[in-house]
């Protein structure tokens, strides 16, 4: 069986209008599937960093990286090897807990998962949780018992372990 696990690509791109469009457009045009994409500024102010997770076999991944490299505004693309990276995702979850007994159960779960309650109302709790996507999935499975009213996930972001980086020297 081909390994179709989620793969992580990090890219440094020009920080200017239209770049996200050209990358997203290329994914659509080439029939690649983006699972998640996060974009933000870097320590170099004219560059943004994108973390893209893609599902596909090795061949598809190789094409994704090559096609990204062809885009003029993409400065550097790198595949991050799963065993050598730290990954994090943040989720905000609004849980339906009108019943006070349930409420303390939920708060216990939040503590076990090292999350935080960031907003409370008579009917709901809003929880912030950070971690690997697997951990967030596990937490969400628990919360489904109580009823998830609303969910916002940032998508995965990642860095290589140790001193390795995709930084470019000016």
């Amino acid at each position: 069986m081909e390994n179709r696990r989620t793969k992580v690509i990090a890219a440094l791109v020009e920080n200017k209008p239209g770049v996200l469009h050209s990358i997203a457009n290329m994914f659509r045009r080439r029939d690649f599937n983006i699972e998640s994409i996060t974009v933000g500024p870097t320590e170099q102010e004219d560059l943004s960093r994108m973390t893209i997770t893609v599902k596909g076999d090795e061949k598809t991944l190789e094409q994704v990286v090559k096609q990204m490299n062809k885009l003029v505004d993409v400065v550097k693309v790198s595949r991050l090897e799963p065993e050598n990276i730290v990954t994090r995702e943040l989720a905000l979850i609004k849980v339906n807990v009108p019943d006070t007994r349930n409420r303390s159960d939920v708060i216990n779960c939040v503590e076990v998962f090292r999350g935080r309650v960031v907003d409370v109302s008579p009917e709901s709790l809003t929880i912030e949780i950070t971690g690997t996507p697997d951990k967030i999935d596990a937490f969400l499975n628990l919360m489904r018992i109580y009823g998830i009213m609303e969910l916002a996930r940032t998508g995965l972001t990642a860095l290589s372990r140790g001193v390795r980086s995709i930084r470019i020297e000016e």
């Binding site: 239209g18 457009n25 290329m26 190789e62 090559k66 490299n69 062809k70 885009l71 003029v72 993409v74």
Partner: protein, 567 residues
């Protein structure tokens, strides 16, 4: 630093890029630029439709090897360029498309970008997937650097079209301009030198090969690598097949030439490619029309793939030795390496096989046919034209007959829409090619269906004094689709017959061009001779049978060695 308007800076920048001609149509959002054509060294050729302008720029680029430039106003002008830009993108042609745009800012706040202003279209959004890169200029001072960068991107690496979108207020804005060299693109550094280790591996494979074959693509033409290709082929005694886009990269009368491969390829090329033990593919992307079913494509062979675009390596087929490099440099390095190892041979068992296959699969035509058969027409046309004449084609049966039976002898003399398959490309492209090479005959091999998609450019050709020859293979039907309907849809001719076809002689004459009709080979010869001497564009109407098939053919889904029909 000199103070001037954005429009003036654009013209000066184009001149610095040695642009001599712009194909275009003006309109409201480019008037400040067009005003400068009132007195300018730059030649502007007013086309009759923006699609024609884009194809003409493309034809100019392919014939000359330089960037071709086209221009259109905002909105519909820009969107009419889209087919032409896509065509250039699919065939890796360096076209610069300049578009006007509604103002980016101004006192009339409803006539600005984003407000659905009159003749506003998001041409950057529209052309992102069909350009190598695109720019929207947001201030006049950016123009010199943007134009430099656009030409650099369009013409280097794997060439491709670049759009520069210029809002009207930027054209009129006056500011200090800096024309110094300022190309700095950290995300774009095309590779051109081959890796020595890969060259060594390729040379080892080729030196050991018993049945080597070369597959030359459009990249050989783009990088002007034809003489290097010939050297390698002759040293290895390797026959050369080309892709459709590679037609002209190797002289098709050379004993080692097999013609082009593919769905309507030469049976010799298709057959021998599947017999080879080592395939050296240069500057080709293994398109579906070239390879047929990938499962049987060159299955037993070791494959070496030279391409300047890394993303083409492994995209469609897996290869044994990838070489990311400019075709000319890679072939030169390969030749040097091989020349040390190999002695030039006079013959080999493989060369004998090539000769035998050619005799069997490309038998000489039996006797002189007086019928107007496309094969005979193409072969006759080759005899009538000088070696350096440029042939463009439309798309469909006319194109495939030209590919099969018209021998291209030199690079940049066979210009056709390969990747996109754009009907209506050939005629405006012939105008562009003629502008690039005014001293050489330029002939568009057309069908009546394709020609009518851009026939209005007869106006351009006559008014601007750009004489070309259009040969209309007239069967009053959209021939290639009719052929597919015959073959795969039980001959149910749905929506394919053109019914009332204009009298092409009268049509030509209505535009001030010359119209001739050829109902026999003798008349065809006479007409082409008249046209070649004429100083005005000539349309030659050649009636052919409605049910004429292009064969041989690889049925869809089959391997290229499963061709049906005789050459």
């Amino acid at each position: 630093m000199t103070e001037m308007s954005g429009a003036k800076a654009l013209i000066e920048s184009l001149e610095k890029q040695k642009t001599e001609v712009i194909f275009g149509i003006l309109g409201g959002a480019v008037l400040p630029i067009y005003d400068l054509f009132y007195k300018s060294k730059l030649r502007h050729i007013l086309c009759r439709h923006e699609q024609g302008a884009a194809h003409a720029a493309d034809g100019y680029a392919r014939a000359s090897g330089k960037a071709g430039v086209c221009m259109a106003t905002s909105g519909p002008g820009a969107t009419n360029l889209v087919t032409g830009i896509t065509n250039a993108y699919m065939d890796s042609s360096p076209v610069i498309a300049l578009t006007g745009q509604v103002p980016s800012t101004g006192s009339n706040t409803s006539y600005v970008i984003g407000r659905d202003a009159f003749q506003e279209a998001d041409i950057i959004g529209i052309t992102t997937p069909i350009t190598k890169h695109n720019f929207q200029v947001r201030s006049a001072a950016e123009i010199p650097k943007t134009v430099q960068t656009a030409f650099y991107i369009a013409t280097t690496g794997r060439p491709g079209p670049v759009v520069i979108d210029i809002p009207k207020n930027v054209q009129t804005e006056v500011t200090d301009m800096d024309f110094s060299n300022g190309i700095q693109i950290r995300g774009y550094k095309p590779t051109s030198n081959p890796h020595p280790l890969q060259i060594r591996k390729a040379a080892e494979l080729l030196a050991e090969a018993e049945r080597p074959i070369i597959l030359a693509g459009g990249g050989v033409i783009t990088s002007n690598a034809s003489s290097e290709l010939l050297e390698v082929a002759e040293l290895l005694l390797a026959p050369v097949a080309t892709s459709f886009m590679g037609k002209g990269s190797f002289p098709e009368i050379n004993p080692l030439s097999l013609g082009s491969i593919g769905m309507h390829g030469n049976p010799v090329a298709n057959k021998l490619l599947c017999e080879a033990d080592v395939v050296l593919a240069v500057g080709t992307r293994f398109s579906d029309r070239s390879t047929g079913n990938l499962g049987s494509f060159c299955a037993p062979a070791k494959k070496i793939h030279i391409d300047i675009d890394t993303a083409e390596i492994g995209k469609n087929i897996d290869v044994d030795v990838p070489i990311v490099a400019d075709a000319k440099k890679a072939l030169k390095a390969l030749y040097e390496r091989l020349a040390k190892q190999l002695k030039k041979k006079k013959s080999s068992a493989w060369k004998k096989r090539v000769k035998e296959a050619k005799e069997q699969l490309n038998p000489p035509s039996k006797g002189e046919s007086k019928d107007l058969k496309p094969k005979a027409l193409m072969q006759e046309l080759r005899k009538l034209l000088p070696e350096n004449a440029i042939v463009t084609t439309e798309v469909g049966q006319n194109q495939m007959w030209a590919a099969l039976y018209f021998n291209a002898l030199k690079p940049r003399t066979f210009i056709s829409s390969g990747g996109l398959g754009t009907m209506g490309f050939g005629f405006p492209a012939s105008i562009g090619a003629k502008v690039a090479c005014p001293d050489r005959p330029v002939v568009d091999i057309a069908g009546d269906g394709s020609f009518r998609m851009t026939e209005q450019e007869l106006g351009t050709s006559v008014t601007e004094d750009i004489p070309v020859i259009v040969i209309v293979l007239n069967n009053s039907v959209l021939g290639m689709v009719a052929q597919w309907q015959r073959m795969f849809f039980k001959g149910r001719y749905a929506a394919v017959k053109l019914g009332s076809v204009p009298d092409f002689i009268k049509l030509a004459e209505a535009y001030g061009a010359q119209g001739l009709r050829a109902a026999s080979i003798t008349e065809f010869t006479k007409a082409v001779k008249i046209a070649l001497k004429s100083s005005v564009t000539t349309v030659i109407d050649v009636p052919i049978a409605l049910e004429e098939d292009v064969v041989p053919m690889v049925p869809p889904g089959c391997g290229i060695n499963e061709q049906i029909g005789d050459y």
